[in-house]
Amino acid sequence: MFVDFFYTLRKYKLPVSITEWMVLMDALSRGYAWSDLTDFYFLARSVLVKSESYFDQYDLAFREFFQSIETPPEIRDEVLEWLRNPLNRLPLTPEELAEMDLMDIDELLRLFEQRLREQSEAHHGGNKWIGTGGTSPFGHSGYHPGGMRVGGESRNRSAVKVAAERRFKNLRSDVTLDVRQIKVALKRLRQLSRIGDKDELDVDETVDKTCKNAGDIELVWTRGRKNNVKVLLFLDVGGSMNPHSAVCSRLFSAAHSATHFRDFQHYYFHNCIYEKLYTDAERDEFVYTNHLLRTLPGDYKVILVGDAQMAYSELTYPHGALYYQDLNETAGIEWLKRICDHFTYAVWLNPEPFNWNHPTISAIKHLFPMYELTLDGLDHAIQKLIVKH
């Protein structure tokens, strides 16, 4: 029965290995979770789940697997506690209290258990079954004056409820991105090569030289290994990109403050790249795209960010640009091709959720490998920037 939990976890795409599962079994057989589901929840999580970005999947799996197991004793304690607390009777009027007295605690409990047995499915509303709303004495958010609240909020948080809260939802790696996460992703964008000053002692060479020197020490210095990656960021701004401005600005500040690149340059465009690329987001100051293509060597890693959605004419027609100031002689797609040809490593990040069937997206996807602007997408994109496309 229990091994099913393992498969439930696997079903939710948690990378749980057999080794880890055996460790958990070992811990359980030594009695570290002494038959308490909350202890088990934390024990299993610390042994099986190795990243906070999987906590949400774990919560979901845990809820699915244990939902049916736990509830009965929980409800009983909760109910008894509720009934024993005299404060819960205070807001009732004398008439209601009289009505309450008709039914003593034992009878109420007996009735409750009986109904719990009879009731086979969740029930909401109505006047007899246990559920939410309704006027039956059992359930929560209901109207029966002395009824008991079952479930709903409680001070004792059970493991299943902790799991049901899904507090780690926003740590999922396939959903959100914050500056730090982007920085972590960008950190992987590095290629160490020996550049810069000779400031590292080359031990092997020193020993070699010293031996040849008949024991007279001769120190040999070499260049340290430094990151040789240069990054070029093209950002689509304005128009349909406005809803994504927050995530784009996070990407921008992460890339901008990443100190490990040898060079970082960024330019703005609107919808598509034409003759000019803008150095400010207001698109007043510009440089010519040709100038960049001429002056920047092809080993810059290019990241384009945009939704790649525009009128088909904007991409494929000469003079198709949306703005008068762009007056493009050459079609946008041609410019994109030139960028793609010049730079060996280029990717396109699309903040739109992965459902790309817009014609211009397909056209651009043909030129640049396109990824979603999520942590997973960014990881793949960076992988692509390191190995040849």
Partner: protein, 288 residues
Amino acid sequence: MIKNPEFNKFGGTNKYIASQALQNAVNVAIALGRPLLVKGEPGTGKTLLAHNIAFGLGKKLIVWHIKSTTKARDGLYVYDTVKRLNDARFGDRDISDIKQYIVLGKLGEAFVFPEQAVLLIDEIDKADIEFPNDLLNELDEMSFYIPETSETVMAEHRPIVIITSNSEKELPDAFLRRCVFHYIEFPDPDLMSEIVLVHFPDIEENLLRGALKQFYMMRQIDDFRKKPSTSELLDWIQALLAGGVSPQKIEKEIPFLGVLLKKEADTECFQGKKTGTYGGRSSFFKRY
């Protein structure tokens, strides 16, 4: 099943409040003899945890700070070739005894320590991506071999290993499989007031409540580059106490803002939010 008496060794200390989940994770790691990997936002007390485990259990703490240049071998031992070479040149020492040129690293030190020690490997993600993989066997077996002297250093008492990470790099799966993992969540207001009370037992109730209210309000602002964390809150409360600020004043404004926000952009952003003029850099993206 009966509760194992060997379990539940660590329950926090009078200086360090650990949540139930954290205590469990620490005890599981100790009981299974596996390294505990601790992650969490900066300032949630990852490093302090190891200090307090050592303090709470009365064991010696050995700290190995990881830097970007640290190699796995540095933790085991260092063979000082240059010194030996130098000695050979002047011939004033017996250089045939290699042992005198072998210096144990922090991991080796923890292995040979006569009793069980607590070893903190701090910020493991700072090192090279391959670094954790190079330590797999050593952490599994708790032993390593020194080829220069044909000696094996073996741990008589497996040290309690605490590893912290700021997730600047992904750790390799093989390494993760061997660890017990805990993510220190940002404390909720209840736990936080306990934490504050540990550090400032005499703080006025009103002041504490007011300060926490403002603090959690600021934590809700997502635009900060670096959100204020526990250590900033503690510093801030200390500043408030030292400055003799009244609880009423805290409700209206935030004195000593610089203690909470460390980046100029964040201060700007916060002032802007307060006056309703916040825009700055991010508004670039909102314009056509």
